[in-house]
Amino acid sequence: MFDNLSDKLQRVFKNLRGEGRLSAENMETALREIRVALLEADVNFRVVKQLIEAIKVKAMGEEVLAALSPSQQVIKIVKEELTKMLGSHESKLRFSNDPPTVMLIVGLQGSGKTTSTGKLARWLSKNGHSPLMVSVDVYRPAARDQLRIVARDLKLPVYEGAPGETQPIDLARSARREAAQSGRDVVLVDTAGRLHIDAALMTELGQLKELLSPVEILFVADAMTGQDAVKSAEEFHKQLGITGVILTKMDGDARGGAALSIRSVTGQPLKFVGVGEKSDALEPFYPERVASRILGMGDILSFIEKAEEAIDRKQAAEMQRKLIENEFTLEDFRDQLKQLRKLGPLESMLSMMPQVGIMKDLKNVKVDEKEITRVVAIIDSMTPRERDNHMIINGARRRRIAKGSGTSVQDVNQLLKQYTQARKMMKTFSGGFMGKKLGKLKLPLF
């Protein structure tokens, strides 16, 4: 397995301390890694170039947050840029004021048009519409049979065509008439797959558009598409004016960088993603999820956002200074634990993280909310002097503290050990809030 971007960036920034700033120099390697990650995800290289520029501009001069390691901070910027580019939120289908609304389903051969037509029909009928499907694919063997069977399985109507009706234009015209007569409010037109450079077939789509005035022209694209995505999408858009994109086969492990490419050359919204061969395998498009996937990560952003909310920047900076100057006291330790608790149940936080790299080590970390409560109670039972200087806590004091906090001397001993370990470790790892050695300690620390 490859390391994912976040592992790589962690390595890139391992020397950049918390007090630094993101600069041209320390960002250079990071940007290279980001570029590779995007290319490996099949984002078109020209689009990658644009993105890298945007990321560079945004990152430059940013103060390194204490709450996040520089690598996390950069990832956050990258993800925000990708999400922005993918479109800020999910889009809906549009309908004509003068029904039936016609939707034209177009795309390359084998991209998933017929399957998506069935999925849309099902989705529409579940949302209060009454769709009629029609296949105008008169070229591929058994293409119209395929849609007929899809419709039969869905128990939704399909216009099958009159005997001798073999022209796409005729089929489409009759289907619309049939929809109007039977009170169907949406006509879904499944078209034959075609290459964007096939002039004759592209002209045919133009004619269908002219005849039907479709409100939606949906371009169906395969998530596995590589660099060529920009060419086909651009050409379909130029010749037809597509109004939206459906990204299919997202149930596999393709990273789906084509989504960015298509979006960037057409500017049209991604509306749905296909996640399986069955008719119910259609989901709305969530830019953020797709951005994570392109970067090969889990939902790390929500995690980072939470961390940002929970941790006061000034306070964190102060903590950093203390660590470096060896002034990190038991009281600080307690404050850190309290902050940690603000992040919510740790298990669920960890489950947001992808199970790769450092997170693999973290899987073995026992996260015990009760233990945090116990540790906080122990520290609360100490005198301010004890909290300030743990060296003075002798046997007698330990017994008193145990009694005061309702714990045992062993618990107190263990806490003190953890604290000294944490101090040592955090000095080494200051700047990052998760270090490799964490597995040995029982608590994740900031």
Binding site: V36, L39, E40, A41, D42, N44, F45, L108, Q109, G110, S111, G112, T114, Y139, R140, P141, A142, A143, D145, Q146, L147, R148, I149, V150, D153, L195, H196, I197, D222, M224, T225, G226, Q227, D228, A229, K231, S232, K249, D251, G252, D253, A254, R255, G257, A258, E277
Partner: protein
Amino acid sequence: MQTLFGSVEQEPSLLERLKRGVQKTRSGLVSKLEDALAGRKEIDADLLDELEATLIGADIGVATVNEILERIRQRVDRKLTGDAAEIRGLIREHLLEILQASDLPPALVDEPPAVVMVIGVNGSGKTTTIGKLARRYHNEGRSVLLCAADTFRAAAIEQLEIWGERTKTEVISQSPGSDPSAVLFNAVQAARARKMDYVIIDTAGRLQTKTNLMAELEKMRRTAAKVIPSAPHEVLLVLDAVTGQNGLEQARRFTETAGVTGIVLTKLDGTAKGGVVVAIARELNLPIRYVGVGEQADDLIPFDPEKFIASLFEGPGSEKSA
């Protein structure tokens, strides 16, 4: 052209090919580069960038591209090397080495029928390729039987049957939803009983991440071997030329579970270059047997590495859009 039954056209013998290969390597990258260095002409960073963009734009993949360019950079100080044409020539040479190294002929079949399984992800062009293969084998004077083992996708059986009519080839099928292995078993038995030369198995498209569907392919393989121990003789992975880096993962997984013996690269009549096959050849040593260049029965041609490489350097859809 090597077929499962030996050569049909005049092709260099294996020995000749090996000899050629050795010469290629000797006169390969290093010596050419030395020549280039002796020339001491200018090469600028822009050229390398442009070449990188061309190769990445062809879906060769950033790792393979970096490896190629690194080999050049390593030996070449940017200030003193050959001209653009020369560098381009070196890259061509390197790509050719990768593709020819994996250019292995299919294993010969002692006794017909040769069992050919056609597999791949959804919509890559399997069924169409089978129609084209049937046409091709007929043209070589062979008898062919088709097997409709995609019992899952709507109208998949009808689609293959139409290809059967077009190419005058009999199709063995069962009803939709039946066990693909059962159809395969019948077809292979029928092919043997009737002394057919080829039986080609159409399979349902599947993403390589679906464990149960991948296990189904394994079962189909085992079923074929039950009838003819040496079967399947050829397992063709059909890859759409528009596929990006996921193609490598497809090749890995399908090879792991279904023992792919060769690749068919479809839809090369579009603007996509299909460069991911370079990464596949490099890692898995899989030969590319044919390329698909259209939707008609005759649109299947044997893979030609030199032409393929030349097309990587051509502009976007240059000759087609004209």
